[in-house]
Subunit: 539 residues, 2 copies
Amino acid sequence: MTGTVKIFDTTLRDGTQGEGVSLSVEDKLKIAQRLDALGVTYIEGGWPGSNNKDIEFFIRVKDLKLKHAKVTAFGSTRRKETLADQDPNLNRIIEVGVSVATIFGKSWDFQVHTAIQTTLEENLAMIFDSVRYLKQNGLEVIYDAEHFFDGYKSNPDYALATIRKAEEAGADWIVLCDTNGGTLPHEITEIVKVVRQSVATPVGIHAHNDCELGVANSLAAVMAGATQVQGTINGYGERCGNANLVSIIPNLQLKLNYSVISEEQLASLTGVARYVSEIANMHMPVNQPYVGAAAFAHKGGIHVSAILRNSSTYEHIKPELVGNKQRVLVSELAGQSNLVFKAQEMGLDFDTNNQQTKQLIEQIKEMEHQGYQFEGADATLELLIRNAYGKLEEVFSLESFKIMVAKTMNQPVLTEAIVKVRVHGETCYNAAEGNGPVNALDNALRKCLLQYYPGLQNMHLSDYKVRVLDEKDATAAKVRVLIESSDFQNTWSTVGVSENIIEASWQALVDSIRYALLNQTRAASKQAESKERLGLVNH
Amino acid sequence: MTGTVKIFDTTLRDGTQGEGVSLSVEDKLKIAQRLDALGVTYIEGGWPGSNNKDIEFFIRVKDLKLKHAKVTAFGSTRRKETLADQDPNLNRIIEVGVSVATIFGKSWDFQVHTAIQTTLEENLAMIFDSVRYLKQNGLEVIYDAEHFFDGYKSNPDYALATIRKAEEAGADWIVLCDTNGGTLPHEITEIVKVVRQSVATPVGIHAHNDCELGVANSLAAVMAGATQVQGTINGYGERCGNANLVSIIPNLQLKLNYSVISEEQLASLTGVARYVSEIANMHMPVNQPYVGAAAFAHKGGIHVSAILRNSSTYEHIKPELVGNKQRVLVSELAGQSNLVFKAQEMGLDFDTNNQQTKQLIEQIKEMEHQGYQFEGADATLELLIRNAYGKLEEVFSLESFKIMVAKTMNQPVLTEAIVKVRVHGETCYNAAEGNGPVNALDNALRKCLLQYYPGLQNMHLSDYKVRVLDEKDATAAKVRVLIESSDFQNTWSTVGVSENIIEASWQALVDSIRYALLNQTRAASKQAESKERLGLVNH
């Protein structure tokens, strides 16, 4: 089974309807560039008729000089009892100067009566006039048949009549939308086949995920002859989201052998998915198929020992194909084999029989019992392992800290921290302000460390997460703090657990700085080596 | 298309392999009770041969007197070149005293060679001996054919031979496992049909979600004749998770008319899904199909106006069928119709043309622009709306607060807060300790308020989430704090945004308390009314 499938990305339009998703024009422009590089054919930028933010996007996207994706603007068919050329919403699409228009119309008789409240005949005219008007203005026209599957089930003849009208008027694509996401794959297969017999125009699919079948429905449509798939990155979208292109693309290309994007582009999929989740400020589920941090992560000791022998025993594809990588999680479920794997990653030879290893495993189990989680905090874990093997020098130690936060009505909050630490045998006593307690602590601590470790300048805390453990017992609830830090090369995560959020934050903060220093020492020694090799060192 | 499908829940076994999922024995017992009430047929409690925590579960679960679910213990076929009755792992299953055993064996020739490293003949013997031994001990035996689909694709005859062996030995069920989650629905359909022709034993499906097809694959198997579905609540499980029963059950029952559980049980689905996510301490995605907070949420103004006319225009089922409910989100995308809907929920008559409404919409847009999100903070939104309509009395106001956090090496952290607030025209100045700054603030504030509002005793902060906005710019990054609070009847969420985490927390804390008082006033007046009606009030 082969063929070509064109990808229509609507992250910037339908995706922004998702709960919690909100993109600035800047954000949209950044994402458009990544989508272009990923190799999608169409980028739906927004609905110019509905808000001005979208109009600005269409103006500014022209300067990006996208290499291969076509930008399209969304809108509805003309209003009832009006002329297409006088419909502001259609004219907006023309005015923003895109080469492709995507307009939706009603396919479901029930919808025609309840939602737009007109006659079935007028709805057909609305579709015909709107498509023809856009074609007359030289645009490629993608006709989205809203609620097509519900419409077909309720009145097949009428549903088919609506798309025939679009075809008659010259639509370049007829896209069947499962707007409510309530249709099942076998229904999609059957109905798409009927449609393919009823129209000659190429057919596309626009699925939603309300039954957790958005991906399956898209695949079913393609296997029934659809050649365009509409969806969003990470499946963002209203309610349960749109069909997730991040799963659909590799399924089509790696499993069904359709040609969709190039191998290099496919290898950028994980990067794109994570980038978009960052920009959209959405948390990416670790278990997201193909691209999630856990998609190729292995926990159970039994699996891991098999993985170490042959990864295809528990991996359906090579993670590298989609730009992801294999991980082994350390957890109470894990046998020693997991730690062995981690240690190998760190280049430590790890004797499972020696005393240190046994103690380390006990320590990790005990910490997990207290609420630590190392799955999201690889840096803290690495420090623990190196520590157990005496491969870690104590760079500084805390003597005390104090934090003061003061707020007076209508005044900004004042936050100060005082730290007293030992660095290289000397005591440093210093204070700093911050925009929060952790930030103030961080600033004061850096004041003490920077003179010894100027490299720390490049490092900053990039994310800070707080999780209340055993919520039930709120008064004395423990909190787990995850801190993500970055420098120019790397990003790493550390964890702290305590009943006190400040104490937990301090633990994660200290680990983050210790790890940063570890990184820098490594980088330095690497550089030295290569200089050595290049003979740049004077003997 | 109808028939009966039995649900096999493995949340407590395979589900705990999921990243971040970790359940105590207590947790497992609580979940088992909810699963029983939900109406699943089998509850897989764990792997007694692999860890003792699981053994304790099997002992204690007997005291629960589950009404209708059968508890089953998991294990593997006997080790190679041993006798079944001397296999510790099989004997553990018998010893823990369950009525149903679930054992897995190899179906894939490649796996036999690489993972267990034995001959194809010995593997067949391992399957036969193990099943027969458990049957001889009076157990119902479910045989999980691990990697069946990969095995079938690599060597169909051998894959089929393995399950025929299990049948020969008397297995009650043959469950086909897509262990790596790499199989597509059309392959499932085809292979399940072949299997049904090859064995007379009832067939089950065990799918994973690595291609985002776990639900679709389970449905495909059932439509091809499988009568047992294995999966987990919320799709917890290794890598990308197991097939999600929370979507499979309503799909089978509401869409395909299979009889699975009762209508009442189906209406408890949302409750169960959220309960399990709470216990497992996993964040439930708002967009989770059927049960997510956004599954029936509507954002775009155009949809909402249609919803107000007829909800089936944008909802594939009635949310109540699965115990969920319709929500309307307020966001910059939303027209006034969303706010109208919210106001109606609150019983306010909401004139979209008056000045207050216009100001309110401007205010909400401005706050969203600053980083507020009301989608997860309905209580704060309600306070804003009531405030705009002068329907909210100012219960107290801040004059100032101070927080001190002090830590000395090897000592616990000391956290104190001092607050100065005006309550009912009087000034209250008070201090309290806490296990963190927010907790200390909360405690000090309550000291001032409890004398006026004793009802606050029942309220507590049940969750606390911190989100760093625009991570890129970490030094001056804004944080959004979400606080979830509960009393005996309700749970509500409030939000605060500031560059200072303490300031943001204070905003959310204050809103939470104001909302608690609002609730209590309402409850009180309701009580008064009903007393009135019952004539309990002396005139």
